[in-house]
Every structure is written in structure tokens, then in C-alpha cells.
Symmetry: C5
Subunit: 405 residues, 5 copies
């Protein structure tokens, strides 16, 4: 693989230039023959697509290969929190290899190492070596467009079992919907979390760890996993509420000032809701799975609490379905409103025309150059206007009575 | 969590002011750093949405934390009923702690404590402590927009098993569809029920308890649970009947006086039926679950009777599906009726125009200033009218024969 | 329950008066505080709905309560047939209590008691007492709008097991689709059947029982159940054939004389087919269940024959799906035919107008009062007509060639 | 049953006379009180329906009753083939009872008796007696509109187990889609096949039996069953190819000469594909069942080969789904093409009208009888034409630039 | 079968000549009475269809029959790769029988024989004899339009078990979507792969085998199978990206220059995506099956890595669903845009007409030949123009204010 002539799956250059404004720029980390697996899963753009490694290259990234991968330019922060019911220690790790070489304090019940940013391969490599992470899991960390999933890497003699979990967060930034990946390794006493360029805000969780006697502090690493997942799921609600407001505005627009743009927005809402559902659905399955199945790293307390997160996931999917239903009925209403408006205009215009057509004919008749007796009478003219008035009025009355006006 | 800087998920202030009339006001109970979890599950409003706690706050509410939550201002009533086949005692409880401290009468086979109103935290706390309720269940009681569900909290050595049940009622108040939550804890000899601001009317059930020899009196606490669930499910029928009538009226409107408002009402009926189905569906699952699965607190008599409630749920969902089908076909009929009406108008107007167009041309011809032989004849004028009459009549006849008029 | 203030779920009085002609009158049997559970499951009417007991009243009807229920005014017939391979005795039972008190003849292998009409509570009570029927089953008999279902009431020490079966028949009477309920109790040697005001015709079955050596005569009570169910299912076919004919007529109407009424009829067919499917689907499940599951009252011969009934149910549902598909495609064709017709009319009218418009302009030109050289020529007038003829003809030719005429 | 007053489910006489040309005539075999079960499953006709026995008649046909059924008038051929790897004997059986009385040659490993035509009841009776066929299976043979299915009639002490299989073939004859039934009984060494008026052509299979050393010759009766089923399934492909061609033609028609007839044909294709799917789907289930489940009469070699037939069934259903998808998109395209055409015509006509309307107004102005200065000038007339030309040209240019022309 | 009068399922000759340009030519290999099974699964053409053997011919191809089949004219290449962690040997095989007769080197852990091209029957026959391939599997290799599937041919005493796998690749060539078949036999130490006229490019895999120490080199034959499947699945992504770009272009077209061709392209995209899904869906099932089920030839390492391929398949199907959703919403937008455009044109034209109609009437009035007082005044003419100006202006203003202009 290393020397393979990997072909890079690119965005068609022509189009990407034409529509450069629309498409987020992605810095590309090119490594000898191998290019970074960068997700272009941009649901806010026109059409989502994935950037994949060239066909024929090997799947999985060996720990030893990590060092050969080029680093990105983004900042990377590593935070380590050790805690037990009595004690807590939060430290930002500067020199990771040195830190990992040290022994973990004996009082520490749970160690949580959080990596914000995936741009330094040596950090990922150091953790992969220390905790014996599987090559396929390493690839999934780096390639940040995996579906939410839980994978069990059972322990061998020298190494305890690990649960590898990928979750997807959603967020609206710059008027677009973004979906980021959060990768986690759960051991018996350790939780590793990896996040990309737009990390979740873990401050509330840290604060709860700092609070003596909090439920989080009393429990094990899998309870910490529950808390992280709970945070991810709860962050779906404010995003969904944005769509709730958007739909409310569209509802007004559809009824009061429908335009082609309104319809396009409705379609966009539907599409983005679909994207959210596609993120939420595997998340629900993942959490349902964690809550049901036994695993050596999951405590029964955490599983009881995961039931609660599962309920939230179900509510999220319920909400999405409601919103999609509403958007669909708005699209139908739009079509009906627009066609009603056009029909009303056309009907009125045609009625105006229809009222004048017989009158014009009448005027034409008395403009004929043949001997017309009426033309001799001086009363003809006012009488003509009278007839016109009567005809027009009776037509208007008739149209009114039939509800056409 | 307690000191956490929880962010409140708010309705966008701008919009809520603009559309203040449409949206129900919600009093907010703000508690130091933590805001009450209030459901804004208003299916009658434009777009449903949920108010959730800030992401990152802890799930579940510890008994000890309850005391720190601020109370609401609504009235709270606690009623306790003890009964056995021979005896019954109904009391409104003023001083709950004192009441709970007293021993329960030895003759009491079933104790039913009903709390109407969730605005006094000390009451919930007292019951939670007395009956050892789980923090997650307490949160679900207070946060009143859970889906219907049954959760088993198995007993430990010192504490018997509990079944925690959330059911959803539906109701139409003020021209809107509302869905309220009823939370229940079932023990072997005890039933706790918690209701919000719009409690179910339990008078008929109390009357049946008061009647000596009634089936309810002879049976255990799980039979009482069945009776409460039966009441909830039966209350769906009158609400559905309202939709039946509404659809009947809409059917007339669609055929006789279709307007944009008719279509909007049809869409609204569909959406509200969807909301009801979303309430009824988990209820059906919940009752199907209770009826099938064995649990230490459920007697086989109660399970036999729950089959009956389950049948009702299935009928409710059948009815909803029928109504949705009818609403859909009404929407289709609406489109067809409106387009037919417009087409008929346009066709008639165009026909009128078409009849006069050749006549106007004829009048124009004889208005030309060139030497026209016919213009010399004194019979030309009556003859002209004759020709006009013949042309118009034959066109009308032709249109008639082709079914255009 | 007995003294409960049961609220009656009524048809909205206002509407029912307005549309009195459309809605079948239902005699209401009012019993002190309790009103009869009468199904208003009228699929032929505008919108189906159910009449339910007031929420909060007890479910199930105790045998002892039956006597307190008011009787209806319809005729009730009780027929009892005893048979074994050698002997048969058919009797109409006048005095049921006396009849039930007598011992059953020892030669009787199967006893079939059929009750036509549910208006005499004492009869139901007598049978319920004699055969120990469950209160919930009694309620289901009286409340005649249950879904098809099979319920197992297992035997106790003193009482053998019972299978309680509810089946739904369909029928077209007075131009409406009706669905009636047939309730059955199957014991080892006994079959009880209860029917409402429109009983099935059991004459062919009685005749088969009367025929010595018939397969029915040789077999047990569950075979009799099979024969009754077979009759119910076979009666779906002639009803479905009516829809087949109806759709055939609609097909002609859609193509030859489409009108708004045609579309409404198509929608009605679709809705009624849905109603039939809703009756047939649980029937299929019920029979599939009976055919598969072992039960002490079901012989293996009956189960083998029930496979045949199950096949028929599957064919019925297949037919319904075909008809619904046809109705849907007819609705699409209707829309297309109507819009084609309108378009053709409009096109022709517009073409007529378009032909005359330039001619009228021409006539207008020569009617101008300015000095026009052509007007001086005596040939102008015939030449004008020539020009008009050429213009009109060439336009017609052009429209023809483009396929617009 | 025999003397029962069975009511015959008839096609409505009135309609069948009106549309006599469309509906295939069905000779009716009337037997005292019992009428033959003749399938009118004519998918090519307007609406499919089934002819069923009168409700209340017995299900199943006893062997002894067969003799009482009236014979039809069609020819019936019975062919018997005995073979083993070394020897083969093919004979047309004239006198079936005599033939069945004779012992089967001891060298015969497999005996295949094929009956083409169901019009002689004595033949069916003779086979039913010889091979102990179940009354329900006999009924299914005679009533030729069963769904494809496999039924296991387990053996008793004196009689080995039988597998009863119903398969459905499809065929296009006389421009219509027909679906015929092939009924089979499989024993350990015997295969009975029954076909109706339009039998499958078994010549290729007979030829393969005649070929020494062929795989078919070496194997047992269940392999013969596989070969017959393989032939049935393979015959679906040429029929489907007809639809492939038809859709190709429709695609041209839709784009080049769309008419109401095109749309009706598309709907017909969709409906007929649905009919084929309804035949193919149970066939797939049947073969999947045979391939998976163990049965005493099925050899494992036959089951391995049935996997191949199962694959073909899956491909058939895939193809049907593709064709239905194509037909649906053609229907959408049709609507779009037709509406585009109409719109283009209307637009052009309206543009013509719009160009002349101001010109006509201008001509009217100069035809007024008031003192108009321009009318005095001798240049007025040419100037008028100039103005008209300028106005018309600029309008055409403007319409062109906006893409309306 | 060999001498059977097999009927060939042909493309209707008439049409194929008419549309010769559209349909790929297929060379037909006719063998005495048996014609080659050539897939005409051309998803890019108008309507897909399959070419099947004549009904009644035998399924499966015996090894001995292969020699009788006619060869095609295409080139056939056989490549054999032997490798173990230490050593690798890649050779192109010229004389296959001689090669197969030789013993395999003892150091070889994995032997991979790849056949590119299916046109030489002797090669397939030699391999089939050497490795004891099943007749049905041989048929599936030659008949190249099988669905993706995995079949287990369990081992007998003298022959180890084999896994037979069919996978489908997709590719866009010559502006069309093509789907080719790759057939594989997996033994414990051997992998046979067969490809048709458009083989996959295996160079990257060969390079990885050549690289000492690569993961592929260290593992067994089932890991090689994983690598091949991984390559096939990864090749779906660039094809899908083409559709992503295509949809992007269509999105522009729909909004800016919608035409009938745009709609046809959207339908084509939808149909081709359906074809891809139909290829991808069984592939996902196949890989899910391989990953889950135990088989003697599959190592647990390969199964762990297959999870990764399975994830990719799920993502592919997710993408396809997204694209189909987008295409559907584009089709809806197209209809809306086109109808909006037409409506705007018609509205403007009708407004122009409506403005002139009253003016024309007015001109007609003053052209009447009756004594009209106004006509006497010299101010009449300028006043007339003034009135016309006022009427026209006020109409324009009125239309503007109502948003019609």
C-alpha cells in the first residue's frame, strides 16, 4: 500500500472551480502515495459525497504506519482526567510519550484521555501503541465519516477487551448543517475520546467530575461514556429546534408570500432533516445495543442510565418524522396556494375580458357603414351606454352569484 | 450539575414575540443553574418541539436534589385511598410527611396515592424517599413529555421491585390538541400516580372502589393499574369522534365550498391525527408488553383484563389510520374539485369570448370604409343580425353537442 | 360502575340532525347509568366511528350484571343441534333455562347452540352461567364491533378450557357495506355461536349436518367451527365480485364520461376496500393462528381443513390489493382524461380566437377614417375577403400540420 | 353438501352481456347442487375476480364424490413414464383403471404420470384412489386458481408421505396474460402432475429422460420435480422480455407521440407486471421452502439444484421491480410531456393574440368619428403600418429575448 | 439437454434493427442445440432484460460438457500467484493443463489463480476438474448476470469444502453504467477468481503481495478474498461520485434552464441509482453473511476486516438513498419551476390583453356612426388619449399593488 499508485478520488475540478463558493475548502494532507481519508460529508452543500482511499489500497492503518502519515496544521490538545470518589486530577498533556510512560496514580479509578484535533499522527500513534488499538479502529478515527457504531474488540491474554464506539454529533455552523465524528475507546478503567476540528464542549462534564459526590464521580468509566453520549444526544435538540423555527417561518411564507425560493427552502429542510435522521438512526441503534447487550466494560448502572439516552434518541427520531411530515404538507400547500393564486388572477382577467367582449361587439355593430335605423336617433348614444351598463352589470351580478368574483 | 452553567434551550425570542398570540405561554421555573424540564409538546401549535435540559447536565434527579428545585405556583392535591374487599378509606392528605410516617392500616390490601400537580417538589421528594424511587424515574415524572413506556426497576434485598409506567392521555382544550402525561409506580400492594396541571378525572374509579363487591375492590394493585389505563385509553375515543365529525364537515366543505382554508384544515387534521397516533402507538406497545410479560407486581387477572385494553388500543390505531386515509382522499378530492371549478369557469368564459370573436370581426368588416355593396341595401342591417344570431346559435349548439357547455 | 355517571359518547347532535338522512338511525338501549355498547362501524357512511362506554366505567360484564341490562326489541332465536354420526336432533329452544337444566342426550357428540339476535339479556345470562363464560368475553359478544380474534380462556379444575373466537362478516345491504360480528365459544364437544341483527344464513350447514355420512357429521365440534368460518370467508367473495363489477363500470365511466362523481366513487371504492381489508386481515391472522397452534379443543383434522380457509383469506387479501391498485390507476387516469379534455377544449377555443384576431385587426384597419388608397378601389372588398380567406386557411393548415387541430 | 341449495356466484349478467366481447366465455359444468370451481383469474381482462363455490358448501372433494361431478368436454391425455438409469418406458395411457391395476415394473426407479386436461373426473378419481390423495388437494387440483404453495400430507401407517405442490405458470396468448396452474404430488418414487386446458410443453423434459446418462435419468423423483419447476420458472423470462420490448416501444411513444392510449398502456403494463409478481412471489416462497426444509421425499441433490431455481425466481422479481419502476417513470414523463406540449401551444397562441391586441386598438382609434388631426394627413396610412410593424417587431423581439418564443 | 431443441430467447428482431445503435451487440456462441448464456444486463440501455437458456434445458453445466461448448474470440489470461510471508512467485500461465499437473511448491501458503476472460472453455474445464467445481457453480461462472451471493459447497471425504462467491462490480464506460461479475472459489489455501471481458485491475493487490511484510502477505487465502472484495466495494465510490457531480449539474439546470431533457436525465439518474442499489444490496448481504457466519475456509482475521467492508457497503447504500432523495426533490422542483414559468408568461400576456380590451371598446364606441356629442368637440381626441392613459395606468398600478406584475 505504502508504495501503491493510489488514485485520489477528487471532486471534479471543473465544477469545484465553478462552484468554489459553495463548497467548503478541504486542506488535503498528501502522504507519499497515500492521501488522507477526509470526509466531505457536507450535508449543507448540494449533494453529499464521500472521499475514499483509492480502490486496491489496504484497509486499516497499522500503528507503525501512522508515523509515516503527514500531520495536519490544526491545533491538537490532549487532556487527561483521573478521578475517584475522593480525588480528581485534570491536566493538559504537553509531552504525551513521557506522560504515557509514567505510571497512572494508584488512586485513579477512571482515566479519561480526550484528544481534540486529529492533525498530529504521533499522538494517535502513541495512544494506539499504549492501548493496543486495532488498525481498523485507527483508520476509523482518522477517516471521520463513519456511521455511528459500536464494535467489540475482545481481549487477548495480555490485553483486556475494548469497546470501540463511533458517535456522530450534529451542529449548524455558518448557515450549514455539519456532522462531526466522536470516536471512543472504552476499557475497564479508561476512556479515550478523539474529536476532529470542531470538538464538543466538555466543560460541563469536567465540572461535574470536579464536583465531589456527584453521581459521575462515584461511578466507573462506562458511566463516563454514558455521560458523553448523553451530551451528544442532547445537543441534537437545539439543532432540531432551529428547524422547528424555520418551519414556522416557512409556514408563514407559504401562506403569505410563496415564491420558488420558499419551495426550495422546504426541500432543503426536508433534505437536512433526512441527513440528521441518517445520523440519529445509527446512534439510536448503537445506544440500544449498548443498553441491551452485556459487555465486560459496561456496568449495569451505566446501562440503566443509557435507557434514558435511548428514550431521547427515540424522541429525536419522532421529532424528525414530525418535521418531515410538516415540511411535506407545506410543500403540498405551496403548490395549492401558488396554483390558486394564478388561477384567481387568470379568472379575474378573463372575466374582465369577457365583460368587454360583447360590448366591443355592440360598438362594432353601430360602427358599421350600412343604414342602421338606430343611428338616426339622437337618443341612440345614451341608450347605447345604458345597454352597455346593463349588460356589464348583469354579467358581474351573474359572476358574483356563481361565486366567480 | 448543580452549579453548572446550564444553557437554556429557548424558543427564539424574536419569533415568539412576533407570533406571541399563537404560542401558549409557559411559565418557567428557574432553579439555580438548572431550569425545569418543561414539555412544550404542543401538537396544536404550528410545529411541535421539546424543551430539553442544557446538554452536558446530568441525567436523572437524585432524591436529595429535589429539595433544591424551585416549586411552581399551581395547586397540588394528594389523595390516598386504602381498600380491601371489606373496607375502604379515602383521604385527602394535607401533611404528607406526617402521613407517610404513620403506619398503613393492616386491613389495607391496596394503597393508591394520587398526586395531582407537579409543582411542589417536597411532595415528590417525600414520596421518592418513602418508596425508594429511582432518579431517572423521578426525572421522567417531572419532565412531562416522555413517550408511553414501562420500565422495570428490579428490587434489591431491602426494597421490592417496582414497575414504572408512563402513559399519555390526549384531550382537546381551547380548540387545540393536548397530550398530558400520567406517571405511575406499581408495587405489590401500592400504586402511585402523578399527574400534571390537567389531571384525569378519577371520580368514576373512586366510585367503583367505594362500591362494595365491585370487581375492582376484590382485586389487587395491578388491577387498579388496569382500571387507570383502561380509563386513559377509553378517553381517546371521544377525542377521535371529534375528528370524525370534523372530517364529516370537511367532506361537505370540500364538495360545496372548497377554499384554501379547507385544505389547511385537512392538513391540520392529518397532522393532529399523526400526533395522536404517536401517543397511541407506544401506549399500545406498553399495554401489549404489560399483558404479555410476567412481572412480580402483575396478577394474572389484571393481565387477562389488559388484553381488553390492548384490543381497544388496536381499534384506536385502526380508526386513526381510517381517518388519515379519509383525510388524504379529501385532499385529493379538494385538488380535483378546485381545478374542476376553475376549469369550468375558464371554459365558459373562453366559450363566451369565442362566440363573440367572429361576430366582432363581422361588425368590423361592415365598418370598413371601402365600397361594400351590402352596405347599400336597407335589408343589410336586419340580415346582419340574422347572420350573427345564426352563427352564435350554431356555435352554442355545437359546443353543447360536444359537452362543453 | 352500575351507579356511575357514565357519559355517553354521542354523535354530535347538530350534525346528525343536519345530515340525518345520511346516517343510519340507531336505537339506543339505555340502562340505568350504563348504555349499551353499540357499534356504529358504518363503513358505507362518511366517516366511521365507534361508540364506546364512558371512560372510567368497568371493562367486562359480570354474568350477574347481565340481568340488569335492558333488553332490546329485536327478535331472538335460539337453535340447538345435537348430532353424532348416527343421529341428529335440531330443535328451536323456546324456554332456554328449562332446556339448559335438562341433561344433554348421551348419544350427542357435538352440541351447537346458535343465538340469532343479542336483544335478550336473560338468554345470554343463562348461557353464560351454564358454560361459565368470562365477563370480558360477554362484553365482546354484546359490543359488536370487535376485531376478529381468538382468545384462549384456559380451563380451571371444575371447568374445561374454552376458545373464544370473534369473526367479522361483510355484506352489502341497502347500497352500503356492512360488517357484522359473529362470536363463538368452542369447547370440546360444544359450540356456541352468537349473532346480531343480521345473522348469517346457516341453512346449508344444517343441511350438511342432516345428511348422514357427511364429513361434518363424522367429525367433532372444532370441525363444525371450521365449517362456520369457511362459510364466513366464502361470503367475502361475492361481495368482492360486486367491487369487481363496480370497477369495471367505473373504468368505462372514467374513459367515456368522467365527472366529479366518478372520482368520488373511485375514492369510495378505495375506502370500502380498505374497510374490507381491515376486516379480512385480522380474520386471516385468526385463522392462521387456529391452524398453527395446538389447543385442546382443536382436532388435527379441523386444523388441516383450516389451511384451506387460510388460503382463501390470502386470496381475498390478494384480490383486495389488486382492486385497490386498479382503483388507484383509475384515479390517475381520471385526472389525465379530465385535464386532457379541458386542454383540448381550451386549445380549440384559443385557436378559433387566434384565427380571427388578425382578421379583426385587418377589418379595423380599413375602418379607419384616414385616407386609405385601397378604400377607393371597388375591388378592395372582394380582395379583402380573399386575404381573410388566405390568412385563415393558412393558419388552419399550419395548426393542422403541427398537430394542434 | 350434495343436496345443498348452493348459490352460484355469477358475473353480473347485465354487464357480461354488455361487455360480452371482452370477457372470455367459461363453460360451466353444473353438477347437482354443486357447480365446478372455475377460476376466472383473467389478468388481461379489466378486473380480475374469482369464481368460488357457494358459501356454506363443504370444502374439499371426497374421492367418492368425484364420480358424481360432471365431465367437461375438453380432451384429456394421460402419459406415464417409468425410468431408471438403464431403462426408460414412455406410454400414453388409454385405459387408466386397467393400467393402475397392473403392477409397476420392478426396474422402474421413478414413475411420472402426467394428466393434461382436468375434464374427465373418472381419471382424477382413479388416481386419487390409487394414490390416496387428500380431499382438499383434489379440490385444489380441480379449482385451478390456487396460489403457488407446498403442502405436506404426512404419511400414515399404510400410506407414505406426500408433498402436494401447486405452481403457477404465466403465458401471453391472444394478446392477454394468462396464468395457469400445475398441480403436483411427489412421493418417494412417483410424481403425479395435473395440468389444465393449456398444458406446459414437457417434450424437452421427456427428451432428457430418454437420453441415457443424463443427470435427470440418474436421479430420483424429487430431481424430476426440480426439472419441472425449473421449466416453469424459466418460462417467465420470455414473457418478461415481451414487457421489456413493450416498455421500449412505450418509451418512444411517450416522447414522440404521447396520447391517452399510451398512458393506458403504461397502466396496463404496470397492472400486468403486478399480476406476474403476484404469481412469482409465492412461487419464490414455495421454492425457497422446498430448498430449505427437509422432507422425506426430497433428495439433497434436488435441494442443491433448487437453489439455482430460487436464484432465478429472485431475478424474476428483480426484473419485475425494475420494469415497474420504469413504467412509473414513463407515466411521470408522459404527464410532463403532455403538459409541456399543451403549454407550448397555449403560449404561442396567446402570444399571437397579444401581438395583435394593441394593433387592433390602434386601428380602432383611427376609426373613431371624432376630429382626429392625423386622419387629415395623407402620410397617416403608411405611417400607421410603420407603427404597427415597429410595435409587432419589438414585441416579438422582447418575447424572443425572454425565451417565450 | 444436449440434443434438445432449445428455443433461443431473442430480442425482438424488428425492434433490435430499428434501435440497433442503442443496443450493444452480443456475439453469440451457438453450440449444438445449446446457446451460451449471455447476460444482456445493460442498465444503461432503455430497459434491462436477461437472456436465459431455453426453458426445459438442464440447469448446471457438467465438467464433461464444458469441452463441447464453443469458445469465444476474446483473449484469456491466466495468472497464478503463490506466496507465503517469505516468498512470492507470480507467473502467467500459458499451458494450463501442464501447469495444473505439476505439484504446487511446498512453501506456498496461498495460491491465487485468476482467469481474465471467459471465452476459452478448456481453461474453465481444466480448473473445474482439478478443483472439483460443482456444475451449478460452473454455470454461474459462465452465465455472467448472477446476483451477488455466497454458496457453500461442503466438502466430501476426498474433497475439502469450498465457498463459491459471486460479486458484482459497477463501472461507467462509454457513458453507460455497466455491471460485471466476478466469481470466486475459496478453499483453505486457494482462491480462484474468474472475470469476464472487462476485468478489475488487480495490479494494486499484486503489488501489496509483492511487498514483504505487508499484512496481506502474512495472512491466509480468506484474507486475500477480503482484499479482493474490499477493492470491488471501494470501486463503487468513484462511480457514485460521478452521480454526485451529475446531480449538481442537474440542480443548476433545473433552476436555470429546465427542459424536458433535464427531466429525462433526472429519471435516468434515478433509474441508474436503482441499478447500482440492486447490485450493492446483495453485495452487502453477501459480505454481512461472510462476516457473521463461521466457515472452515474463513479465518477470524479476515472476518474482522470484512466488518470494515460491510461498513463501506452500508455507506454506499446510504449514499444511493441520499442521491435518490435528491433526484426526487429535483424532479418535483422541475415541475414547479416549469409550471411557474409558464404561469408567469401566461399571466403577463393576459394582463397585456386585459389592459387593451377596455381601450379597444372605447375606441369602438367613438367609431359608432350614431350622433355622439363628444365627437363634435375638437378636444375629444386628446381627451380620449388622456382617458386611455388613465385607465391603462390605473390598471397597471392596481395589478402591481396586487402583486400580479
Amino acid at each position: 500500500m505504502v508504495g501503491g499508485s493510489a488514485r485520489v478520488v477528487r471532486l471534479a475540478a471543473a465544477r469545484s472551480q465553478r462552484r468554489a463558493g459553495r463548497i467548503r475548502a478541504h486542506t488535503e494532507r498528501v502522504i507519499g502515495g497515500w492521501r488522507a481519508l477526509a470526509a466531505v460529508d457536507s450535508p449543507g452543500s448540494d449533494v453529499p459525497h464521500l472521499r475514499m482511499p483509492a480502490p486496491g489500497t489496504a484497509g486499516g492503518i497499522e500503528t507503525s504506519e501512522l508515523g509515516k502519515l503527514a500531520d495536519g496544521s490544526g491545533p491538537v490538545t490532549v487532556t487527561c482526567i483521573d478521578y475517584c470518589p475522593d480525588q480528581v486530577e485534570i491536566q493538559e498533556v504537553g509531552d504525551l510519550p513521557e506522560f504515557l510512560a509514567r505510571h497512572r496514580p494508584s488512586w485513579s479509578h477512571v482515566r479519561w484521555i480526550n484528544v481534540d484535533g486529529l492533525d498530529r499522527m504521533d499522538i494517535i500513534q502513541a495512544l494506539a501503541e499504549k492501548y493496543g488499538l486495532h488498525p481498523l479502529a485507527i483508520e476509523d478515527i482518522v477517516r471521520t465519516h463513519e456511521r455511528a457504531k459500536a464494535e467489540d474488540f475482545p481481549g487477548h491474554e495480555d490485553q483486556p477487551g475494548r469497546l470501540f464506539i463511533v458517535a456522530r454529533t450534529i451542529d449548524r455552523r455558518d448557515g450549514r448543517l455539519h456532522s462531526d465524528q466522536l470516536s471512543m475507546f472504552l476499557g475497564r478503567t479508561t476512556l479515550l475520546t478523539f474529536q476532529g476540528a470542531h470538538p464538543q464542549d466538555f466543560a460541563p462534564i469536567r465540572q461535574r467530575i470536579s464536583t465531589p459526590g456527584s453521581r459521575l464521580r462515584e461511578n466507573d468509566a462506562s458511566f463516563l461514556l454514558y455521560v458523553v453520549l448523553d451530551g451528544i444526544v442532547d445537543r441534537y435538540f437545539p439543532v432540531l429546534e432551529r428547524y422547528s423555527e424555520w418551519l414556522g417561518e416557512l409556514e408563514e411564507d407559504v401562506l403569505e408570500r410563496p415564491s420558488q425560493a420558499t419551495l426550495e427552502q422546504i426541500h432543503r429542510v426536508k433534505r437536512e432533516l433526512l441527513t440528521i435522521r441518517r445520523a440519529a438512526w445509527p446512534l439510536r441503534e448503537l445506544i440500544g445495543h449498548l443498553q441491551r447487550e452485556r459487555h465486560e466494560t459496561l456496568s449495569s448502572t451505566a446501562q440503566t442510565y443509557l435507557r434514558d439516552v435511548h428514550d431521547h434518541c427515540v424522541q429525536i427520531i419522532d421529532l424528525i418524522e414530525s418535521y418531515r411530515e410538516i415540511a411535506s404538507s407545506q410543500a403540498e400547500t405551496y403548490v395549492s396556494v401558488v396554483s390558486n393564486k394564478t388561477n384567481d388572477v387568470m379568472k379575474l382577467l378573463t372575466i374582465i375580458g369577457t365583460i368587454f367582449i360583447p360590448l366591443t361587439f355592440l360598438a362594432g355593430v353601430y360602427g358599421m357603414n350600412m343604414p342602421i335605423p338606430e343611428n338616426a336617433s339622437p337618443l341612440a348614444y345614451p341608450f347605447f351606454w345604458l345597454v352597455c351598463g346593463v349588460v356589464a352589470t348583469s354579467m358581474v351580478v351573474w359572476f358574483r352569484r356563481h361565486g366567480w368574483l
